[in-house]
């Protein structure tokens, strides 16, 4: 399905956000001065939409704070990489540190926001993003479990539905968990949700998508935002 697919339903028509639009949407909610870790994959794109006039500190688990954008072609340094092992730069004022300190920043609650991808998020804020549990799959966890529980706010960025139309926002995760009750907000291609102790609250939805239709798509008793 193309990223621009228009979905038609009996009572409404709406357009999903592209992945770039999702990244821009997340970036809008990251305030100046925030210490932020962007997970590998889709969340990495958020960096491209952080406004230049806002000072935001990007952390990378492999020991960087003040991470900058990708270097110009030809200027890559194999010893200056991000968590996805892609070449990056360091901003003026940036710093390097070892893994013990890096994960103390994460586990110790020093990061303000982390943005993670997910296979599933439950209505109670459980996160599944490290392992499908499929037979023969080689498990790899990296820093996902530390990020999931360490940051002051955990944002998930994902498409709301799987390719076969199943909601990834679920009552109970069926994939192995990364963390319990750790997700605060979900930014999807159809809506933004707050996971609160009482309910999953729809903060906003794309134009033309009703609360009832979102309830139908997710099968969850979603509440309207204020």
């Amino acid at each position: 399905m193309s990223e621009h697919a228009t979905v038609s339903a009996p009572i409404c028509a709406y357009t999903r956000l592209t992945r770039e639009q999702m990244a821009a949407r997340v970036a809008r909610d990251i305030p100046e001065g925030a210490y932020v870790n962007l997970g590998i994959g889709l969340p990495t794109r958020v960096a491209n939409y952080l406004p230049a006039d806002r000072e935001i500190f990007l952390h990378s688990e492999n020991g960087l704070l003040g991470m900058g954008p990708a270097p110009a072609p030809g200027s890559e340094d194999p010893e200056l990489i991000n968590a996805g092992k892609e070449p990056v730069t360091l901003l003026a004022g940036g710093s390097f540190f070892h893994h013990g300190d890096s994960f103390a920043m994460m586990r110790g609650g020093h990061l303000d926001i982390c943005v993670l991808g997910a296979f599933q998020v439950s209505s109670g804020g459980d996160l599944a993003n490290w392992h499908t549990g499929a037979p023969g799959a080689i498990p790899a966890v990296g820093g996902a479990m530390d990020l999931a529980l360490g940051a002051k706010q955990v944002f998930v960025m994902m498409e709301l539905l799987t390719k076969t139309g199943e909601s990834k926002l679920v009552e109970q995760c069926s994939y192995p968990l990364t963390g319990i009750g750790c997700v605060d907000r979900v930014y999807s291609d159809l809506a933004v949700f707050d996971i609160t102790p009482q309910a999953v609250v729809v903060r906003e939805a794309v134009a033309g998508l009703s609360l009832d239709e979102l309830r139908r798509l997710t099968g969850l008793p979603l509440q309207a935002g204020a």
Partner: protein, 229 residues
Amino acid sequence: MIDKTVASMDAALAGIHDGATIMIGGFGTAGQPTELIDALIAQGARDLTIVNNNAGNGEHGLAALLQARRVRKIICSFPRQADSQVFDALYRAGEIELELVPQGNLAARIEAAGAGLGAIFTPTGYGTLLAEGKETREINGRHYVLEYPIAADFALIKAQRGDRWGNLVYRKAARNFGPIMAMAARCTIAQVADIVPLGQLDPEVIITPGIFVQRVIALTSAVPQSEAA
């Protein structure tokens, strides 16, 4: 005069025995002590337990050590990568044991060994597959998993510069696991680009004090400049 610098890879790796537990620094290939690993392959020790963040990339370095069938078990956080084909094949064939550890727990367990702690309570992994069967405790309303230190017989690490007392400074994000692995191994062997005369490393910026390092080998300018210079 104390001189921890060694002139040859043979001297650097002397005493590494079959069945040893060896920490190897690096995050992917950044900070990976490739020359020490190549020398370890030539040295021949087998039945090794390796502690690393990953499980080898491509066909070189740690991947080559695995390919040479020297590794019985790997303790790591992120084995599966686009270029981890050597590990993937060994794992699927049941020819290597994997202990998968969340990355922060890997770091904390290494630090615990270096700091002489008996165990740690960590929140990471609580309620997940990776904490199954492990002791847990609720402390001030939060849930923790009991995890034990990871110590090693040897650590092979890469630094930018060292001196004959074993003081080290690193380069950029190649630092990663080096400083904490140096603390957790009985014998830490550092490969450096340069050995400088004692006193030339600014004491304010030394990252690994020499107490944690037993051997230093220079890859490029093997002959240190005169300390009197």
